[in-house]
């Protein structure tokens, strides 16, 4: 499980993180920005962080 850090100011709500997440851990709010809804499903692959075009997501590692 990754530790989700989200910078809302940088997010442009493109939806890449939510749609392309292999474990579908995200929901999207009314603007289209991601909500880390199912953290227990996250496998910490960091693909959302790598594919975010706006550098808005940081998936930290838990201790």
């Amino acid at each position: 499980m990754g530790k989700f850090e989200f910078n809302e100011k940088l997010c442009k709500a493109c939806g890449i993180c939510a749609v392309l997440c292999p474990k579908q851990v995200y929901d999207r709010d009314e603007e289209g920005k991601p909500i880390f809804a199912r953290p227990e499903d996250c496998i910490d692959c960091k693909l959302c962080e790598l594919r975010c075009p706006d550098f808005a997501i940081r998936m930290g590692e838990n201790e």
Partner: protein, 276 residues
């Protein structure tokens, strides 16, 4: 948690963000891959110079925390060559777009390939001129719609990787913004390679190219890259008909048989001095 600073804090100019690109634009993903590749190679960030031309993609070096040179349209490679010749110890990386690299700077591109000078060129290929409103570029696929080809493009596109390999570039690879881990590895390999390296990053332009060709939103375009990507080894066994509409990814050239340009220049200086 480790004490190490996050790569975004180290290598991005946070005060310049958010960037100017449209929502879902692949350019941000390529920057993300580029800074991770630089981190991976463990080169001294103070020795990195990022040179760009003009276009959406060429804004990239303004957001990265390295020495940057934003130059004339299509002329990123001549400036980069100058930087490298002046100080061969520097790691010179060129960020350029498909139009900037293969149209306006097309001749500079093939001649840089021919010279085999140690520069890493990352080509952001989004199949059109995004900054000026979506005109067709030399990589716009046949039949695709753009603002200047509303009934479909009739110009056969360039295959940037085949062009670079044929012109003599010694490291050539292609990936897409869907295949980010592959892109990071290719850019890192290109940076480590002694000689001219070209990494083509196929990216999405959801606002112009994507909308005009009904390719859907940014995530749909990325899923399209996933569906249409074919590895080079597999593509070699396929016919031209089967490869229609496919994106061939992987390594196109990796040669060590040619001498690097600045090294050759140094040996000329030595021999002119009467060394040998």
């Amino acid at each position: 948690m480790s004490e190490k600073q996050h790569v975004f804090d180290t290598f991005l100019r946070q005060d310049k963000l958010p960037h100017i690109w449209c929502p879902g634009c692949g350019n941000g993903i390529v920057i993300n891959a580029l800074i991770r590749a630089i981190e991976k190679t463990e080169i001294d960030p103070d020795n990195v110079v990022i040179v760009s031309g003009i276009g959406c993609s060429s804004r990239a070096n303004g957001y990265m925390n390295f020495c940057a040179l934003h130059t004339n349209h299509g002329r990123a490679l001549p400036y980069a060559t100058g930087v490298k010749m002046f100080n061969p110890k520097l790691k010179v990386i060129v960020v350029t777009g498909d139009g900037d690299c293969t149209s306006i700077g097309g001749n500079h591109f093939i001649h840089a390939c021919r010279r085999n000078i140690d520069i890493t060129t990352v080509v952001f290929n989004n199949n059109n001129y995004g900054m000026t409103g979506g005109q067709f570029s030399p990589t716009t696929p046949l039949g695709s719609k753009t603002k200047t080809s509303v009934y479909g493009s009739i110009d056969t596109p360039f295959d940037i990787c085949s062009l670079a390999a044929a012109a003599g570039a010694t490291y050539v690879a292609r990936s897409t913004v869907y295949h980010v881990n592959m892109l990071i590895n290719q850019i890192a390999e290109g940076i480590n390679h002694q000689g001219f390296s070209v990494v083509e990053a196929v990216c999405d332009c959801p606002t112009l190219y994507g909308r005009l060709n009904k390719k859907g939103a940014a995530p749909d375009m990325l899923l399209g890259f996933k569906e249409n990507a074919v590895m080079k080894a597999k593509a070699d066994t396929m016919t031209e008909e089967e490869l229609k509409g496919k994106i061939v990814i992987g390594n196109f050239a990796k040669r060590v048989d040619r001498k690097e340009y600045t090294a050759q220049y140094d040996s000329i200086i030595e021999s002119a001095k009467g060394g040998h």
